[in-house]
Symmetry: C2
Subunit: 316 residues, 2 copies
């Protein structure tokens, strides 16, 4: 009896495991921005450097804090001048795997993305000119740009700032999560509750949108929630009203609050809302709890190297 | 000839070296707050945790950023609600060696000090009650407090928060600076310009106030500079008007801007102002440059361990 039960559980697990894609160690690397150690080192310094903001107080890490899941504990982000922006900050962790960036997909690549917050008035409120001027006054940075972009005559450019940051972000991956270890074959990496949650996640159809290595299809789906028109703001196509790009679910247990406006604090509540609004299903508390347990298995550790604060050079 | 010159330089160096005190690896540890690894680990997490602030956005590391010299790049600090405080943030690095804390010496110990910013409205704007409530909701923290304060029935207290943070701060020391290596016997750790600066620093009397392991006598001296009455605000003794505690000079080259109001950007300018106001001497540009070079030798590296961002636990 014990034997047969074990077998049936095993085959169930394997069935469901096949719906998922393990997370590779690195996302696709674009042809025009190879991932060299020199560039990653520079990008890390820039990611942590508050001098990229007008106030010299806000860095990428302020809102995408790598000690708390790559986000900022806020409903919607607080940036320059303590202004609250309109949206919740998603994590930078594993962001290199996303097919499009931002809740409304208005950037295609991490390079393009990084140009946004640096200039946004409610975020870092800088300009390409200001940033390049500041960096050029710091001899150690000029050297590091030369090394990261060899052969370029004047490598300290805004474009290269975004390239280096994007390269660093492509190292912020968490293939060490229990979920990923499970997909790679470690049957004991998930608890039985988590395995049941996985089953529900597939059976109820969450996987229709939350699929691929970071559990996002990169597509836009209607989520009518508040006045934010989402994708429509980008395309002006009426069909895109209230549509948002499916967010990744890796590390979702440590990136509360939820949804594009950070309006929901509890992961269980977010799961129930999804089931209702996207699938027309009322989940029981027990079902939501199981799915939550499953999503918790998707929490991994950011590589240690990325969490060592760089000693940033002083300007002369 | 070469030989005799070498000898005379050597004896000069040795004379001046004897005016200084090498930096030990750790400052004095108070009897009631022993420096255990468990406490340092907890203190580090608290130092980096923005949830100790009301907004959940500001941590000690926001204003005492260990990748930029333990300060915040601001003239005077910007805290909760983007309010500017009245004073420039000194570094937390080597702060355990200071005899009194704050520009006006209003706290005697690091433990006492830490209670300030956590509650200050213009800084973190929290309350002991709020902080303890938040921490108690995070099971991993409760465990870590138990380990850091063994034998205590209810270890998650505001007092223990300040104790753990102080313990962590006592590990933020930079005995690896060229200056300290020079004091320990490495004759080549300083350039000859730096050695000349050292000589001027002693000869002109900077050392009268800037002495001891962190180059601060811990005493209060008149520096009439603006409306800030300094020590007088603490003692109400008219003799203390405009008096400030001598700041440390370790890492001073990376903690611009200078003075209690952060009003001076250049280290050379700060040196000249000091010579004028505290010693009645006009320094030449060359002399100021040499002293600056000497002070630059006091920059060291914060221990790597302290710069590894902790992975902070999520509340349940
Ligand atoms: C003041 C807060 C703030 C700062 C500073 C900030 N971000 Fe963001 N970030 C956000 C918010 C809010 C969003 C979502 C905006 C949206 O989708 O409309 C976002 C989105 C992103 C995304 C897209 C992730 C996804 O899932 O679509 C990436 C990647 C990112 N930021 C990286 C960075 C980098 C790199 C920097 C520094 C150059 C930075 N951010 C600075 C708040 C911030
Ligand atoms: C039709 C597509 C679709 C389906 C089906 C779907 N989701 Fe989503 N999911 C989305 C989109 C789009 C969002 C972003 C909503 C927004 O704008 O905040 C989202 C957001 C979420 C969030 C919040 C993520 C965050 O970081 O804020 C969670 C959790 C989530 N989904 C889980 C699930 C679960 C569990 C199911 C199944 C019960 C499910 N989703 C079904 C598309 C879908
Ligand atoms: C919003 C900015 C801000 C935050 C947050 C902040 N500090 Fe400070 N800190 C300052 C300023 C400004 C001073 C100087 C105030 C004065 O002397 O009146 C200071 C002084 C200090 C000193 C005294 C150093 C010396 O040379 O006298 C220490 C130590 C210190 N802070 C540690 C901390 C710790 C620990 C935390 C977190 C619990 C913290 N600070 C949070 C801005 C900040
Ligand atoms: C009589 C005591 C005294 C003497 C002598 C003195 N200092 Fe100071 N020093 C101070 C005090 C007090 C301050 C803090 C002033 C303030 O309130 O900002 C200070 C501040 C400084 C600062 C700015 C530190 C910072 O982090 O903002 C530097 C640099 C400095 N002194 C260097 C020197 C040099 C070099 C000399 C000699 C030419 C010198 N000092 C002589 C007491 C003294
Ligand atoms: Ca979130
Ligand atoms: Ca300063």
């Amino acid at each position: 009896e014990l034997f047969s039960r074990e077998v049936s559980v095993k085959s169930v697990q394997e069935d469901f495991r096949s719906f998922f894609t393990p997370l590779p160690s690195f996302p696709p690397i674009p042809k025009n921005n190879s991932l060299t150690p020199e560039k990653v080192k520079l990008g890390k310094m820039l990611y942590y450097d508050p001098r990229l903001s007008r106030s010299q107080l806000i860095s990428c890490n302020t809102c995408h804090n790598l000690s708390i899941g790559g986000d900022d504990n806020q409903k919607t982000s607080i940036g320059h001048g303590w202004q609250a922006g309109p949206r919740n900050a998603p994590t930078t962790i594993n962001s290199g795997f996303l097919k499009v960036q931002f809740w409304d997909g208005r950037a295609l690549t991490l390079e393009e993305q990084a140009a946004g917050p640096l200039q946004a008035h409610v975020e870092m409120n800088a300009t390409p000119k200001l940033i390049v001027e500041r960096l050029k006054r710091i001899p150690e940075y000029v050297e590091l740009f030369k090394k990261a972009f060899p052969g370029e005559k004047d490598p300290v450019t805004f474009e290269n700032v975004t390239k280096a940051i994007a390269a660093f972000e492509r190292t912020l991956n968490t293939p060490n999560s229990p979920f990923n270890r499970y997909l790679l074959g470690d049957d004991n990496a998930l608890t039985s509750e988590q395995k049941e949650g996985m089953k529900l996640f597939v059976k109820y159809g969450c996987i229709a949108c939350h699929n691929g290595p970071v559990l996002s299809d990169g597509q836009f789906h209607e989520f009518k929630w508040n006045k934010d028109l989402g994708r429509y703001n980008v395309t002006k196509n009426p069909k895109d009203k209230y549509k948002f790009r499916t967010p990744q679910l890796l590390n979702v247990a440590i990136t509360a609050p939820y949804f594009h406006d950070g309006s929901v604090n509890s992961l269980e509540a977010a799961i129930k809302i999804m089931a209702k609004k996207e699938l027309g299903k009322e989940l029981s508390n027990i079902e939501a709890k199981k799915i939550k347990a499953f999503l918790e298995s998707m929490t991994g550790e950011v590589p240690l190297e990325a969490r060592v604060l760089p000693e940033l050079p002083e300007k002369n």
